[in-house]
Symmetry: C2
Subunit: 273 residues, 2 copies
Amino acid sequence: MDAAVKGSIGVFDSGVGGLTVLRALRGALPAEDFIYLGDTARLPYGTKSRDTVVRYASQCAGVLAARGIKALVIACNTASAVGVDLLAQRLAPLPVIGVLEPGAEAAVRASRSGRIAVIATEGTVQGGAYQRAIAARRPDAVVSARACPLFVALAEEGWTDGPIVEAVAHRYLDGLFAAGPDRPDTLVLGCTHFPVLKGVIARVLGPDVTIVDSALTTAEVTARVLARHGLARGEGIGTVTLLATDGPARFARVGSVFSGEPVFPDDVEVIDL
Amino acid sequence: MDAAVKGSIGVFDSGVGGLTVLRALRGALPAEDFIYLGDTARLPYGTKSRDTVVRYASQCAGVLAARGIKALVIACNTASAVGVDLLAQRLAPLPVIGVLEPGAEAAVRASRSGRIAVIATEGTVQGGAYQRAIAARRPDAVVSARACPLFVALAEEGWTDGPIVEAVAHRYLDGLFAAGPDRPDTLVLGCTHFPVLKGVIARVLGPDVTIVDSALTTAEVTARVLARHGLARGEGIGTVTLLATDGPARFARVGSVFSGEPVFPDDVEVIDL
């Protein structure tokens, strides 16, 4: 294999939610090897200070860099908001891709009216990073954002369909998408947990709202970046290595929901940070 | 005022859930002053190692002790499970009361059949402290336990009644309370968040199941311990001081659900641990 295309793609998240990004990456780049690190011992990042998140993200990136990655994907909204530029500088010339900018970019492309809704965790909504990233691309955009913590809990419990999820989706989304001229035409799933609820969310919103799945958009951007840098592998079936800082049993159980395929505790290597 | 009865009752929790315990304590001991500390910067405790929880609990107790408390209530199941004996030794002769033992004691007293169900967080269920505390008092008890993380999220969102909570309660409890000779006759609310859902849970279970609210039982035990030590105040209206290690806005918003009365951000003093 050409030296340039050797090496894995490193992916990290504060926990298991980023496995939706890994899943999308594997779909887009089936020939690549991936190393995923979930910093499960220290989650959630969303409630921690900026300095702490930067420190944790740097440690995660360091672990992956030491394993010889050729690109880094930050599959965590909180860490993406504060860490992409810094980690890109530190790891240069390694490409570093966050989940936030691809989602904002896709939302601006998808929206006709410029009215865009973002659902995320409380930390992401209050931090305002999606709002800023969308405004930077389209200053006249009207962005409404809502924290949907129950969606996180439902996804982690593996309750991804059925009447409970649907009722919760109505409660969160009906107000945000009230009929009228201000109704958004685009919804950004601004939390890595939410893609597993996409089916229900789409059903509740109906066909006139475009859903931007930031896991998918991040995977598309990563594929383009790899191709541009001459780092993409053309053929073969890649491997996946899973690392966590705590609790392989829980990682496997909850991770299976987000991976879309079974994860077993023995698949997870526990490391210390 | 008699010197023995001066001083506040210190209460700490990893976050705001322990405010249900504070509420019960104020109901049982209206003349007392309380200082509540929520270690919101470092929650959740439930997923952390025993050593870390002991260290955090000791720091919380230290802050409260420095403010001249006359008794300490550990309003956190995780910290109660690992820290009551240790903190009681360190703070002696100050009485130290956890939430776990009073709940186990009340369950054993309430159950006729010896079949007792416990609902709690995943950490509490897996740690097995309720199971052990019940077995120590009634070795033939059959204890079934289930983690109910959605209840935590619902309570924190303030969704404490209505069809969503009821549907979630059915999903968690119907299996645990399936009809037959093994059906428990007692349910322990083994998480400080759950008392705000007690109405729905009681409706779902029906009148033949006794619900043990560990916030109430802890308050009763605290009142008895104070009386026994000659530390109880007979008259007056006590005060409440609220401390948190992070986020007064969120503390106030979510705390209002658990306190059963409005909490304002200005009421919350942020301290560093």
